[in-house]
Symmetry: C2
Subunit: 244 residues, 2 copies
């Protein structure tokens, strides 16, 4: 049987993009007492696990994601590591760890990863655990230091969204400029002026206008666009883009 | 006495900028045998240390830097964590750990930080250890997984240099455009066309041309510039800068 390393874990912040909001995948943590209806507390954690003794941390993060979604090859990025001496010391956390047969005084290093998926593409099923998408703005106090991990993941995600074209991963192959704008508004939690947005994207050579329009919409059908990674990679190399 | 946590360490990649090259601060690691002149091996490590049981990893990284340079308040950035099961398993590394009374089979998580300093501003003195600046291009095989840590730090530094104005930290308050160009050429290990570079910087509103020129130079004195962080912060907020 594979043994866990009891002082190294990964925590995965799995962002799920939906057309009008950003979700995060959370795990129900309910500590039951003696009786069936006797609940000590109920809250949520991020998805995560200890790593196996012979496993790399990247493999562990992929394993957590695979166990949840059945998907492989998802983009996961390590963004920060959390090792504060008091990170597991809240009362509920100590109770939980003791109940689980673990030492609440052991200092555990957790290596944070984030992933970004389109919510509708994913069927969640984690062996016997209650896992669900929760809208980011509805998330309250989480277990351990998971609020801190979440905030840092969001900063990393937004930083990435500003510097790399990750938004296209969340769109269909052909999309409208309104859909593109919406993706970035959701990720960055902001609203763009439509005219400024279009002026900006008009300069992006890797955004290819097609001779096609939307079909099956009630309003006036909009032009469709495609993202060209090839043009993007070429343009990127030509850019002398520091600070601006 | 403060106790170390024997499975968490920090490794600091301390980059030292010099006018014609980028240096890295390395520690001599020499394993001596029985006789005084009997040397088993000699190589180099990055600067680093285990963390104390009650210390945060950020404090540990600052402590390593302070012990080396006497400086506080240096900008240090956590960039990646290294925990491969085989990262301490090279023959010399095992010998070194055993000689040092440590368990070479213990899996140690190392949290990587990088710092960027101007080499000439720093007097290095690490209690009894032999520490020196080594030009990046002259660094050979390092101990443990320290080449991998170094490469990842350099990627993080360059990424940062492209998106944030860190170059100004390495320049005097008033500087010429040639000095600015040189800083970025050294960090990014590239050469810029002078005209393109000037066209680019002419658009940066936070680069303030002064009514002053260089003094005490043999060639035609060049105009001096200042960096305005205030204008930069303002400009940045106005920018809708994703991907370009």
């Amino acid at each position: 049987m594979r043994k866990y390393c009891d002082y190294i874990s990964v925590d995965c912040v799995i962002f799920g993009f939906e057309i009008d909001r950003l979700n995060v995948l959370l795990v129900d943590r309910t500590l039951r007492g003696e009786g069936e209806s006797d609940i000590e507390f109920a809250d949520h954690t991020l998805t995560g696990n200890h790593i196996y003794e012979t496993e790399t941390v990247g493999d562990a993060a992929n394993r957590v994601l695979y166990d949840l979604t059945g998907l492989t090859g998802i983009y996961l990025e390590q963004f920060k590591t959390f090792a504060h001496p008091d990170r597991l010391k809240k009362e509920n956390d100590r109770k939980w760890l003791l109940h689980d047969g673990r030492d609440p005084d052991k200092r555990i290093v957790s290596i944070g990863y984030f992933a970004l998926l389109a919510t509708q593409d994913v069927t969640i099923e984690w062996k016997g655990r209650n896992v669900k998408w929760v809208p980011y703005h509805e998330i309250g106090e989480l277990a351990f230091d998971h609020n801190e991990i979440l905030e840092n993941a969001l900063i990393a995600l937004r930083n990435k969204a500003k510097h790399e074209p990750i938004g296209f991963e969340l769109l269909p192959e052909k999309f409208t400029l309104s859909q593109l704008q919406k993706v970035y508004e959701i990720i960055l939690d902001t609203e763009f002026d439509k005219r400024n947005f279009r002026k900006k994207v008009a300069r992006m050579k890797y955004l290819i206008p097609l001779d096609e329009k939307q079909t099956g919409v009630a309003h006036k059908p909009a032009r469709l666009y495609m993202f060209s990674r090839e043009v993007y990679e070429k343009t990127k190399k030509d850019l002398f883009d520091f600070w601006v």
